[in-house]
Subunit: 336 residues, 2 copies
């Protein structure tokens, strides 16, 4: 049974296992520094579909198929899926998981969604409500640009603080059976709003939420940055990362030595014109299910924090003058 | 601990309690047949805000405040909120709960969201991960029209199969402490797609999902319609209701005697020009927290099924020619 810890955390007394993960990405991600580590690199960003949105759904479909194959688990043995994406009304997820006929909990936490999915999947398994649960998220550069910014055909300029939405999906099977790692605790985020209104600088919008949840995690678990081999944020990028360091320094925590940001790792910014880094639900999800899981499997990482962050806005809220608040969900993972 | 039951259900061995509920609605809902039963009827559909979206956020803010007051629980004693709405990227929820600083799991199941929220809140409490959790959803007629259909200024015609999105928010506190009812089981829906492409006939899109989940619930719990005082769907409306009856009749179940649909009850269709009935996340949520909870409190209902249904689409998926699949989440509630 889970045990309530501190203000915002749960520590799992019988930690659920991470049984397997799978990652599917687009061509640009395949050309990046982590390119060789993904399970599947699609060579066509449209995946042969007629729309970007259908392409994104296919990414989820493929990631789910791949993780079931890798884990040697049948579709019928997955009790629930916790999944989400960035598109309005989660249409990426809807058409991605439809054919699998698995009970679905649709979730939305912007780019923090993989943290939310892992948290809820872990709770479900640990409480004895399921043998196996899938946590999955996706994003697609072109569908996200249409959803949040301008039609690609405009060829609009991107400021250097802007990030590049990752085309990719990551899926994880959490279960009771033996896996290579376990989820030993979670710290669940609240919405944090510093009043930033620049939707082209999402790192700045999300960094306060990352700082807030990390500070709370250290308090709840009575831990320090030195207790972790890596503290991994989702897609703060180069701008958000610096702000996170500054905010945590104010609380007396220096995480620079153990910090890694999935968005910073995903692309070679100078070669790939991605400015502040990669972003999107698919960014943290695909780096988790490729590079990070490989490090856990070979025990290069023994204990990590995975903290994807989300910027909570829509074109409507933005155009009506609202700020872009952030949220972050922290998942503590240990190899075994 | 929850116990896995059948293919898609959980039966709670230590059922979490429904401690209190609160409902806030707009003026049109206040003039409907249930008008006197809501906690708050706002007289201005804008709630004094500058945008429909800000008005919807305020509905959530008020519903949350009201339920805490009614339950005599402090904000700090709510461990988690499970909340969602119909707007892209859940901006109704984001700006509705922001000030409360309570850890948030954002969820999306279209109009089934209250069923999803209650399910996850119940799991959280029963697993010992929280003393009190809030489940909350909202919708707003005008923000939903902007999100899904046409600008109100167009004055477009609505077919008779169309429903009228309810302006309202409902909030429920689920907890370990004594309440007037308990959640004794859940059956979680999968996406069901009959290929219907008419977004102006959401009843037809959702009825197959309602039939699917009800059939599965009867199988998993080895029960029949006669075991329940009421079987309550969310917003199938007059068209969807008939389809649900037909589909269940094919399986040998006749629910007509015990069935009620929140969308049908919400408005007087002939007087209020609402065509097939009310709809939206706020429809099931406000009828649950007003009329239904009152019936449970006075033990007029001893055992019910609450099954909000959602139509999974966006303007993008619809305009790209995709169908509108449905999903439904079933919650078994018993008075105590």
């Amino acid at each position: 049974m889970g045990k309530i810890l501190g203000k915002q955390s749960i520590v799992f007394e019988n930690p659920p296992y991470i049984i397997e993960g799978a990652s599917v990405v687009g061509p640009k991600e395949g050309e990046g520094p982590l390119g060789k580590l993904f399970d599947v690199v699609e060579q066509d960003p449209m995946l042969g579909q007629d729309s970007w949105e259908d392409a994104e759904s296919l990414l989820q479909k493929e990631a789910l198929q791949k993780v079931l194959l890798k884990a040697r688990i049948n579709r019928a043995d997955i009790r629930y899926i916790f999944a989400g994406d960035l598109l309005g009304q989660l249409i990426g997820t809807t058409f991605g998981v439809l054919e699998y006929e698995i009970p679905l909990f649709g979730i939305y936490g912007a780019c923090s969604t993989m943290g939310e999915a892992l948290s809820l999947a872990a709770i479900m398994v640990e409480a004895g409500n399921a043998e196996n649960v899938v946590a999955m998220t996706s994003s697609h550069f072109a569908s996200a640009e249409r959803q949040f910014r301008f039609p690609l055909e405009y060829g609009n300029q991107r400021p250097f603080s802007a990030t590049w939405t990752v085309t990719g999906a990551g899926a994880v099977v959490i279960g009771k059976g033996k896996g290579f790692a376990k989820i030993t605790g979670i710290t669940t985020g609240k919405i944090v709003d510093y009043g930033v209104k620049d939707a082209q600088n999402m790192g700045a919008c999300m960094a306060p939420a990352a700082a807030d949840i990390l500070y709370q995690h250290f308090q709840d678990f009575n831990s320090t940055p030195a207790d972790y081999d890596k503290i991994i944020t989702g897609d703060l990028g180069l701008v958000g990362k610096t702000i996170l360091f500054d905010l945590l320094n104010e609380h007396g925590y220096d995480i620079a030595k153990v910090h890694m940001d999935c968005g910073v790792e995903m692309f070679d910014a100078s070669e790939q014109d991605t400015h502040a880094g990669g972003s999107g639900c698919g960014c943290a999800a695909t780096v988790l299910t490729s590079y990070i899981f490989k490090q856990l499997k070979k025990k290069a990482y023994k204990k990590i924090l995975f903290i994807p962050t989300g910027a909570l806005h829509s074109t409507i809220s933005f155009n009506e003058g609202n700020s872009v608040p952030g949220i972050a969900h922290c998942v503590q993972i240990e190899c075994c």
